[in-house]
């Protein structure tokens, strides 16, 4: 939008001075849209049309088990959801998962990025390959892997923990709220820390080496250099990593579905939306849950971008 309003006067000014150039600008703009248009319109069609549909459906009392009883109910679906404790406990669990996993991943991911950055050349390729493996693994597979490890029927974690004195080795991990959530978060952390560490690796590469060296010469300890030189210089990378992972964690579905199916205090918002629409076929109510979830994510994105003042489109606009 801003580009259009600033580009317009520039183009017309050029027109009055040098008409030849203006013709080229116009042709370039047309070519630009011919090339970018298909991708742009597909994204719009796949996202915005269904979103509008969901908004519309959410205003109706509409279930697929009785499709003829479609009746306009206004905002009453939203009222039903927001006065239901299920929504609020789902919200709390989702926020908890997001905060814990992103915090842990940030620390772990930074450590891994440092290792990748400083790794002696003989192991660098190997370390990078190994770190990429969890990222490449299908989430459902990783969820099963962690589930089987801790499962009381087939897992060996309890067995191994029996060696540690004072640990309850009969714990049924997936039948209690806290422990089930712990394993779910462990699997998420295992799977997505590589993503964070790769973004932070790129951030590390942008820290001017001379700055850190100069600080070292001046007698700064490693910890001082970390807080005063390295971290401030990779602020953008950290913000982008946190933003993307937080949005991703807020949409968590696969791991919860596989491990507990939302039981034992692990019902997250995505699962609530899925269960309401696709399992119980309450399309009106489910659409309202979906719209609310979308609003949460959009709000999260908005706050993140505002608070962190990260202009994600900057540096991508090329010559403009």
């Amino acid at each position: 939008m801003t580009t259009e309003s600033t580009a317009q006067p520039a183009a017309s000014r050029k027109k009055s001075v040098r008409p030849v150039k203006s013709k080229r600008t116009k042709a370039e703009a047309r070519l630009g849209w011919w090339l970018a248009g298909p991708a742009f319109f597909i994204m719009i069609a796949v996202i915005f049309y269904p979103l509008m549909q969901a908004l519309w459906d959410s205003l109706f009392s509409y279930r697929l088990t009785a499709p003829d009883d479609r009746e306009f109910v206004g905002l009453s679906n939203y009222l039903t959801i927001l006065t239901d404790s299920v929504w609020w406990s789902g919200f709390a669990v989702t926020v908890l998962i997001t905060v814990v996993t992103v915090a842990v991943e940030l620390v772990l991911g930074f450590a891994l990025a440092l290792v990748m950055h400083k790794a002696i050349t003989s192991t660098r390729g190997f370390v990078r390959t190994v770190i990429l493996v969890p990222y490449g693994i299908v989430t459902v597979v990783s969820a099963y892997a962690w589930y089987y490890m801790f499962s009381i029927d087939s897992g060996y974690m309890n067995n191994w923990m029996g060696w540690v004195p004072g640990v309850d080795s009969d714990l049924n991990w997936f039948a209690q709220a806290g422990s089930a959530l712990t394993v779910i978060m462990l699997s998420e952390i295992w799977k997505t820390t590589p993503f964070i560490s790769l973004l932070l690796l790129a951030g590390l590469a942008q820290v001017p080496e001379e700055l850190s060296e100069a600080a070292a010469v001046d007698g700064a300890t490693w910890r001082q250099r970390l807080w005063k030189v390295i971290l401030p210089n990779m602020k953008a990378a950290i913000m982008v990593a946190v933003l993307f992972r937080a949005l991703d964690a807020f949409r968590i579905f696969d791991a919860v579905f596989i491990m507990t199916n939302g039981d034992y205090g692990t019902e997250v918002l995505s699962l609530l939306a899925y269960r309401t629409s696709i399992v119980r076929l309450e399309i009106g109510l489910g659409s309202a849950v979906s719209v609310l979830l979308f609003l949460c994510v959009a709000l999260l994105a908005f706050i993140a971008v505002k608070v962190f003042k990260v202009d994600l489109a900057r540096g991508q606009g090329g010559k403009s």
Partner: protein, 273 residues
Amino acid sequence: MVAGWWILTAFITVWCLFPVASILTTSFKTPGDLSNNQFLPTSWSTMNYEEIITGASRELFLTALWNSIGISVIATFIAVVLATLCAYAIARLNFPGKRVVLTVSLMVSMFPVISLVTPLFNMWRTIGLYDTWLGLIIPYLSLTLPIAIWTLAAFFQQIPWELEQAAQVDGATPLQAFRKVIVPLALPGVFTTAIIAFFIAWNDFVYGMSLTSSEAARTVPAALAFFSGASQFESPTGAISAAAIIVTIPIVILVVLFQRQIVAGLTSGAVKG
């Protein structure tokens, strides 16, 4: 110092590969071993692999594998072609609305997939795309297009485009200059983007679960959730593990072969701030 690095490397290796090793050993267990709570099987057996490749779960697994490969490859191909054109325009041309395109793709990548599932479920049932390949390929584009556009745009901006003109000055036609100079420079980026987009499509679970109902289009992640084992009383743990290993092998091969490019692609995408 060097010894420290080796210990650290060993530690990272164990952390990253342990769950995979765990699934691997489980996949070789006999039904009796599945409940003895040990890491290693007492006797190594390939019966789980036999069950999903030639045995009772054959239909379920192999059709899902075929669906996953076909749908992911087609979605990746379409996304990469469209994103390449789009990213080229963003990197090379000045046109009004360029930022709009980037902003929209950013918004799309932030979108909660589950919010689209209900309307798509309804629409696809109405127009007959429910439980078809196309019914998954279209939503997969919403997952693969944004990241492909961002990665490629970042990549294309680093290409020294002046080389193209230099080649033309040296007597090449514009097409020759583009083909001989730009294409070889751009190809690794396009290729990396394709691998990342393929990972993402291959990984999807929510669409695969919600927009399919039969073997006509059910993908591997969704099929894994539907595995019920050879009989009602037999735990499907072994078969699921074997299937999980089979779908993991191609990804691990891709990672090992292309780790350098994948790292470059992922890091160049978002962080330029």
